[in-house]
Amino acid sequence: MESQLFSLYILPEHLWGEKTAQAAIDFTNDTMVGSGPFKLAEYRQNQFVRLDTNQDYYGSVPKVDGAILQTYGNQDALVQALKTGEVDMITEMPNTAVAALRNDANIQLVVGAPLDPGVTDIIFNLVPPDQCPPDGKCTGHPALKDLTVRKALAHATDKQQLIDIVLLGLGTPGLTLIPDGLGVYYNNTLQDYAFDIATANKLLDDAGYKDVNGDGVRETPDGKAPLSFRLNWAGDMSSGPRIAELLSKTWGEIGIKVEMQGLDPDTLTSVCCPAFDYDIIIWGWGSDPDPAFLLSVMTTDEIPTGTSESGYSNPEYDELFAQQAVETDKEKRKELIWEMQAIALRDLPYIIPYYGQNVQAFRKDRFQGWITDSSKIALEDPSSLSLIEPVK
């Protein structure tokens, strides 16, 4: 239930009550109606939002007169704006700027789990031929359907280096689609595949994937197809090319070749699912506070709908998913969900390189009282904004 209610909002009856379905679709919703500590004073699209303090707020009235949320065209400018004092706080920034800001006496960095935890995932095309959807192409490389190959790839994935280079260390190694930001539902007892090129090579050797023709790329045991995979990522991920580049290097060390290409998100959707016209994709999910949705992504039922990206199909997993959906006991549900994560890590429809962290920063010489020790980092949240006060 929680997961379903999450995306429902409380609507003011005096505006929406009388509307027909069609009128509701056409309603542009320009006037903000709410009961929070701030009121919308001015909105200029892609420029800024100006909030005034709601003096009639039922809780504790914020100590500031208002807040302005300004939009910048690029993250570099954002950091510069904080440095020069044009803004007092920034909600996002390139991780590369962290080192420079850390040395700035007037700036405080805040790093932690984001409000809506995100997952970056490496997706394998596993769709079984008999499950291929009617409008699917299902052209995935057969070798990827072999768990041994996926295990070898997992062993050849240096998650720490990915975190270091791509996130500048500001992330945690990933396990399955359920991010550590989901708290109790995150199974922290699982053992990940260690980064070990030798193990990966041995797995492939033992399974008969040998480099027959001596070109540095292994072939399938029947000697026909080289282990050369298409590797795509969403073009709007700035980290995509860097992840792909790092993967191609370590995977290259175990005789696996990738052809890299970033794709526009629309194009990626059209090759991904339910077409299954790909080998490996680097993409990402944003998470609800409840894990139900991300768990559903790996169920057989979702293969034809396009929600399942990997085409992973496992009756045991499906059964557990059905059980947790109706389980009302929180502790029992958690057990079921933990077990599902164990299965997902064992079967590897995804390699999860990392869970990202939120990096935010504020100027220490302007306002104080920001909430920096919460489990979720969100300086722009009204909870923080209503507490801060000017530095004397």
Binding site: S7, I25, D26, T28, A41, E42, R44, Q45, N46, Q47, F48, R50, G66, I68, Q70, T71, Y72, G73, N74, D76, A77, Q80, A81, T84, E86, D236, D264, P265, D266, T267, T269, S270, F293, E302, T305, G306, T307
Partner: protein, 342 residues
């Protein structure tokens, strides 16, 4: 003869606009990507909801008779009322000044574009004005002082300015100006300011405009200087200048009386034509300086796959280039007596 020329030119401009409208419509339907799914990667969207979105944006209708969609090609009934196809609805809306509704902001595209266009015009207008004034002045000086160190410095400056990638110069100026001059980093106004006077507002916008305008001016200055310089040298090589010199006029008088006016002729057409090409620079500068203009809107719309916005911006640009071309052409006819005689 002149009137027929005028009518011909206007007729051609109108034809080109029609062509651009058709191209503009079909381009976005030939290129891959389902507009209904653009920007939405939420699988929880039910088939009904997707259909509702299609209806809302008019994508449920066939693209044109016989084609439900063009890429991938899907056939449709050829005998529907042509006015009930996406193409003619689109054309009809254009005549009513409607450019559709933005997928991203849900606002009418025409409204968003109108606001954005003024911001861009302000930036481009001031920068072009400065670039022209400075470029012409520098070009005249260089041509006059041909072969001297003054000429050389102006030349090298102009050539380097011309070779600079616009966005690169913008980034460097952004960091230089914000660190050393304390200028604002982005946007057009300081949000939430209560201006004491109109002057305070002008100064605030001016401060925000300084760096983008500077970038823009430098990039175009070089080109104008080079054109003015060579155009003036061309004119000064004409025999009538020699005649004037023989009559005893000094250099200043010759420049003023003969050369400048004639040398400005190619400048006028180039300036008018250039206005159409300035947008390429605007896309880069507005992205670097977060300027809320048309160029920035195009960049955002590309990222958001906001087809109606892109279509609208594209049409606006093409039409303004066509009009600028027409104006330049007619201006040329008006200014150059030789053309009138034809």
């Amino acid at each position: 003869m002149r009137n027929r020329r005028l009518i011909n030119k206007v007729a051609w401009a109108l034809f080109t606009i029609c062509f651009v409208i058709v191209l503009n419509f079909f381009l976005f339907r030939i290129l891959p990507g389902d507009p209904a799914r653009a920007g939405i990667r939420d699988p929880r969207l039910t088939a009904e909801a997707q259909q509702a979105i299609r209806v809302r944006f008019g994508l449920d209708k066939p693209v044109i008779n016989c084609f439900a969609s063009i890429n991938p090609p899907k056939p449709a009934d050829c005998f529907v009322n042509p006015l009930d196809t996406q193409f003619f609805i689109y054309v009809g809306n254009l005549f009513r000044g409607e450019f559709g509704i933005s997928y991203h902001s849900n606002q009418p595209v025409a409204q968003v574009l109108a606001e954005r266009t003024w911001n861009t015009l302000l930036l481009i207008g001031v920068a072009q004005f400065l670039a022209i004034i400075l470029g012409v002045a520098l070009g005249v000086i260089a041509a006059w002082k041909l072969g001297t160190p003054v000429d050389y410095s102006a030349l090298i400056f102009s050539l380097v300015a011309w070779s600079l990638p616009t966005f690169w110069l913008g980034i460097i100026l952004l960091f230089w100006g914000s660190t050393n001059l304390g200028l604002p980093i982005g946007g057009m106004v300081t949000p939430g300011m209560n201006y004491a006077s109109i002057w305070a507002q002008v100064i605030d916008v001016g401060r925000h405009m300084f760096l983008p305008t500077l970038t823009y001016t430098i990039v175009f200055l070089g080109e104008y200087m080079l054109i003015m310089r060579s155009s003036l040298i061309d004119v000064l090589s004409e025999d009538y200048v020699l005649t004037a010199k023989a009559k005893g006029l000094n250099s200043y008088q010759i420049l003023k009386a003969h050369a400048l006016r004639n040398a400005m002729l190619p400048m006028v057409t180039i300036i008018a034509l250039n206005l159409g090409f300035t947008v390429a620079g605007a896309v880069q500068i507005e992205t670097v300086f977060s300027w809320p203009g048309l160029g920035g809107a195009i960049y955002e719309a590309v990222g958001q796959r906001d087809y109606p916005m892109l279509q609208g911006a594209f049409l606006l640009l093409a039409v303004s280039v066509i009009v600028a071309n027409l104006v330049a052409d007619l201006l040329y006819t008006y200014l150059d007596p030789r053309v009138q005689l034809e």
